[in-house]
């Protein structure tokens, strides 16, 4: 089937929904969301715990409830969507090729595309855990899908590697579902999860959190029989003599998320080696005109509220592009990040306005550091933070005056002063 569309949104999770809604609200009627899953909402459907929506709605919602709010809004605005539809490629000229059981092959000529493809989990292969290959080794998100969506148990006695929020949430889930979680291991000397999740997911159930520990071996033929763990040194290498065998039938890996960008790559979108997502300007537009990126496909967020907010800006930018009222930025400046600032999104800016937040992450945890933004070497923004950690994305919104200074500058730098 051949179609022409003003805007194709790839992905119907929180980012895709918010982007499509915003585009529609900004006058683009001919929008379609293509979602590979059987329903809209993406990963939120399996995130049955609460903690979503505190910023966006001022109340604490579960994942399905948060998704439901956006689905209802999309329905009200009559946003067109196809589920069970897999986008195979987006070409440089914005031709979207997709397949679905119902519609067969779809070739959609789009005028603009929003990439909202989300992210995927790092697996055992990504971190090279040696040993046998028995059943019982899951990524935390896969286990979450089995338990919350299908209603299957994954095991009786589990070890979890990785203390990010997904690992912590799954520790509680397994305990509630009747399994025993022996311990949560964390390679780093600090947890990347939220303090509240350590409190309500681990401490509530007396699950030990072993910092500076990792899994160095997997044993078992058919089913996992146990893992060998070890303490690591400050170079994160296992310390000989600290090995311990922990009997378990389940190992959950919560070892990081990677933006999913095969489609973006195929279209020729430039990716950042640090975020794994597209390099974008302040309109969330990639190096290809009319192709926008948002959500976890752009950079992994910690809060879905920020995803929705960012995606809405991508949808709005796409609408502005389609309406032809996008101001042409003559030149883009790359934001330089250094001294403890790992990255900044957007990576380049033409004209910054106060509505556009800068998102960034720090490299290591620190207390009492100052975030500094320079325009041509002069400090234009300064904020002391009691506590900064790599797991918490920082958001900075700048005043009219600061934006003006940055827009006039030739060089913009974001850094941390840890003194």
């Amino acid at each position: 089937m051949n179609l022409n569309k003003s805007l194709v949104v790839v992905g119907g999770g929180p980012a895709g929904l918010a982007a499509a809604i915003a585009a529609k609200e900004n006058g683009i009627n001919d929008v379609i969301i293509l979602e590979r899953g059987s329903c809209l909402g993406g990963i939120l459907n399996q995130c049955i715990h609460s903690g979503f929506g505190l910023h966006a709605f001022g109340e604490e919602l579960t994942g399905p409830e948060y998704a439901g709010r956006y689905e209802e809004k999309a329905e009200k605005l009559k946003v067109d969507y196809l589920t069970d539809t897999m986008v195979l490629s987006v070409s440089h000229d914005k031709t979207v090729i997709a397949v679905s059981k119902e519609k067969g092959l779809l070739i959609i000529k789009a005028e603009a595309v929003v990439l909202a493809t989300g992210c995927r989990e790092r697996t055992r292969g990504a971190i090279n855990i040696p040993g046998t290959r028995p059943a019982g080794v899951f990524t935390a998100g896969t286990a979450q899908y089995y338990i919350n969506m299908i209603g299957n148990h994954v095991g009786k006695k589990a070890v979890i590697l990785g203390s990010g929020d997904i690992g912590l949430i799954m520790a509680r889930r397994l305990m509630l579902e009747g399994a025993k979680v022996e311990m949560v291991l964390e390679l780093l000397p600090y947890s990347n999860g939220l303090g509240r999740n350590i409190a309500q997911c681990l401490e509530d159930f007396d699950i030990p959190l072993m910092l500076s520990h990792t899994v160095i071996g997997v044993s078992g033929k058919e089913r996992l029989e146990g893992v060998t763990i070890a303490k690591v040194d400050d170079r994160l290498l296992p310390i000989p003599g600290t090995e311990q065998f922990i009997e378990c039938d389940t190992l959950l890996l919560s070892v990081g998320l990677i933006p999913e960008n095969e489609i973006a790559t195929g279209a020729g979108v430039e990716l950042s080696p640090i975020t794994g997502g597209a390099v974008v300007n302040e309109n969330l537009e990639t190096n290809i005109e009319g192709v926008f990126a948002c959500g976890n496909a752009l950079h992994v967020h910690d809060l879905v509220d920020y995803v929705s907010d960012e995606a809405a800006r991508a949808g709005k930018s796409a609408a502005a592009y389609l309406n032809g009222d996008k101001k042409e930025s003559s030149q883009y400046k790359t934001i330089i990040t250094k001294n403890g600032v790992r990255y900044c999104v957007p990576q380049k800016i033409g004209t910054l306005t106060p509505e556009i937040p800068l998102f960034f992450r720090v490299a290591t945890p620190s207390q009492g550091s100052t975030i500094l933004i320079y325009a041509d070497g002069n400090v234009v923004y300064k904020k002391r933070e009691a506590y900064l950690t790599p797991s918490e994305m920082q958001m900075v919104k700048l005043s009219d005056e600061t934006c003006k200074k940055l827009n006039e500058a030739k060089e913009i730098t974001v850094e941390l002063n840890t003194k």
């Binding site: 049955i48 609460s50 505190l54 409830e65 439901g68 209603g151 509630l176 350590i198 401490e203």
Partner: protein
């Protein structure tokens, strides 16, 4: 007087709070950014409660499990009892989000509510 460090679970900020208490009565709370932190600490000392989220069986073509939550926090020491009770529940379609699945669930006045709409 006892002293305890506590992480507030009310919002993602997760304030680290120093709480002093006598028996089940809170005497002081410091380190909290907002009032909700002190309220949480007071409750945590006297009578800890948690919102429970889980899933129940549903006779649907669309999804095998229906996500549910308690409309208000229930006693922390009754979480496992609540999970057992969830296993006995079966929901029939159609169900809308915020529908009451079970009234007076574990605690009086607390309802078990649906987190999702399922039509068929």
């Amino acid at each position: 007087m006892n002293e305890k460090m506590m992480t507030c679970i009310v919002c993602p900020r997760g304030c680290r709070m120093k709480v002093t208490f006598e028996g089940d009565k809170m005497l002081s709370c410091t380190g909290n950014f907002c009032k909700r932190g002190a309220d949480y600490a007071r409750a945590e000392i006297a009578f800890p409660v948690r919102v429970l989220t889980s899933t129940v069986t549903i006779n649907s073509y669309e999804v095998p499990r229906l996500p549910v939550k308690t409309s208000a926090p229930i006693p922390k020491d009754k979480l496992f009892e609540a999970m057992e009770k969830l296993k006995t529940l079966k929901v029939s379609v159609p169900v809308k989000h915020s529908d009451i699945i079970f009234s007076d669930f574990i605690s009086k006045g607390v309802n078990l509510i649906s987190c999702r709409s399922v039509n068929s």
